[in-house]
């Protein structure tokens, strides 16, 4: 039963039975987003360094928080994660500081600039998992991989199911309603918005709206204020800082939504991470766009 669950979870992520250890019990491997093989050790790792806020949240949620011994300075959720020693940045991490924590698993975001670090962790004999976590599907995949590695696929599946159910509930609730066109303000100088390659675009759709910048295919991209005005969104989504910029800067008056005060202030810590609070994020967005549509 237990083995069955592990194998199911592992087979989700393309597996091979590649190696054998001393006692000739096969150790399973999976392939990470750098194309490297990651061992699924026979006993769950107990010293994990997680260099990505999203995976840190996931580890705490599936009950492995006590196994996390290192995090980045941006991993602030849940509150108990703040008690874990901080090891610097998650992109181009300090390899020496991470190795010095003596981890048996390092998890990092699979961006190109993290490749040298991943290679070094492997060279030092540390099991390393590089994961690209950009879409809602990546969230499911990542939690299921973590479940397999931690030998607790049941709990991982519960987390995935509950988030998936919440997202489905929000999607159903907003299905019949009118879909406002929204512009998501990520950064002001330069002006950056969400493209269709991001889970935030997926969240907009689930919450019953349409992104005016789906033609940007990456996770985000730079744009101009004039172009925002031309696309004439019904609402602007922005964090607290972006909101005050939009209010204070007279240039934003050329955008109808800014002029008429249709700026929805979002909690950036909640909605800007593809993690276990995706469901909560979708509910909060849906209620901002369609007040009272879901509880």
């Amino acid at each position: 039963m237990f083995f069955g669950r592990v194998i199911v979870a592992v087979s989700l992520v393309a597996v091979g039975l590649l190696g054998c250890d001393k006692s000739s019990v096969p150790t399973r491997f999976l392939r990470d987003d750098f194309g490297d093989s990651v061992a699924i050790p026979r006993s769950a790792p107990s010293r994990i360094v997680s260099l990505n806020p999203a995976t840190t949240e996931m580890l705490f949620t599936i009950g492995a928080g006590s196994r996390v011994i290192g995090r980045t300075k941006y991993d602030l959720y849940p509150d108990s994660a703040r008690l874990v020693p901080e090891l610097g940045d998650g992109l181009r991490p300090n390899v020496e500081a991470v190795l010095g924590a003596r981890p048996d698993l390092v998890i990092l975001y699979a961006s190109q600039d993290n490749r040298p670090a991943a290679r070094r962790f492997r060279a030092a004999g540390v099991n390393t998992l590089a994961i690209k976590n950009d879409h809602i599907a990546d969230f499911r995949r990542t939690v299921s991989i973590l479940g397999a590695i931690l030998h607790d696929s049941a709990r991982a599946q519960t987390v995935i199911d509950s988030v998936t159910r919440t997202l489905a509930r929000v999607q159903n609730a907003t299905r019949g309603s009118q879909r406002p066109r929204v512009f998501w303000h990520i950064w002001d100088a330069p002006l950056i918005t969400v493209g269709s390659g991001s889970f935030m675009d997926e969240l907009i759709n689930i919450a019953g709206a349409t992104n005016v910048y789906t033609d940007i295919t990456g996770p985000s991209g730079p744009i101009t204020l004039e172009d925002v005005a031309r696309r004439d969104p019904d609402f602007i989504l922005a964090g607290p800082v972006g909101d005050s910029t939009i209010r204070a800067d007279p240039r934003w008056r050329i955008v109808r939504a800014a002029r008429s005060g249709k700026v929805l202030v979002v909690d950036t810590l909640l909605v800007a991470r593809p993690s276990v609070r995706l469901g909560e994020a979708a509910i909060s967005l849906a209620n901002q766009l369609h007040p009272g549509i879901i509880r």
Partner: protein, 329 residues
Amino acid sequence: MKQFRTAYWGLLVAALVLVAMIAVARGAVPLSIAAVLDALRGRGDATAIAIVRDLRLPRVLLGALVGAGLGASGAALQGALRNALAEPYLLGVSGGAAVGAVIAFSIGVSTDAAITLASFAGGVGAVFVALAVSRAGGRTSRADLRTLLIAGVIVGAFANAAIMVALAGAQPNTVRGALWWMMGSAADATWRSVFWLFLSTLLVGGALVYWAREIDVLALGEDTAASLGVDAERAGKRAFILAALLAAATVSAAGLVGFVGLVVPHIARGFGIRAHRPLMLAAGLIGATLVVAADLAARTVAAPTELPLGAITALLGVPFFLVQLRRLS
């Protein structure tokens, strides 16, 4: 010409060895001296061995080679161009190398070897463009050494503009990689990169030291050089290209490490050295010491966050330079 006293050589070598030892012993992870010595011999804890042998040692060596290359390159250029403010980065080397690296980053290439090659090609390419520009500006078809510096500055400015255009619409990933590269860092040092930089420093630096006499003559002025039977244009161009190659090799290994090429030759001259053979060797030793010390500061001052190496060398180098300027005037 004042002779460089033998005692100074011992002092310079001792300073480099001492700083290098401290740099191997200290880092983000506190290790006892005994643990470091054990790790160097491959004994004891596997993590400590990995930290000392695969992280710190190559990093210290790479830093030393970068500093040595930049110091020697700066000394050769200041002599050959008879300009105390000449430095390798002013010749378009840094701008060209950065363009090469940024192009590599923005087409999604990320292997160390590819970025090293791209930046080296960019740096060398920019130097040849600068040579062509200086030739175009002259009355004859011969390259004018005096206009070379200006040509280098112009090529560098053009390179900067190209970088900004390339990065304007780039993904955060690319921008971050390129920016980090431009700030200079020895963090990605591997034994392989140390080997390649060692080889190129040995070859190109060796050639510069071999032709050091010509630089001595050039430093006297082109007319004097001609009357002494040296083809000033040929000798100047050779020194220029070799110095640029040396700087381009360091830049492709560790990005832009500012101010070393400018400041270090002045420190070396502060010891009373005038002849270019000992001057380049002394500048190499001082440059190595300065960069190893700066890299030590970069990785320990705000640990576990790393500071940009290029900024630290400038912070350390500028006060030295100002003291030197006061002494000269």
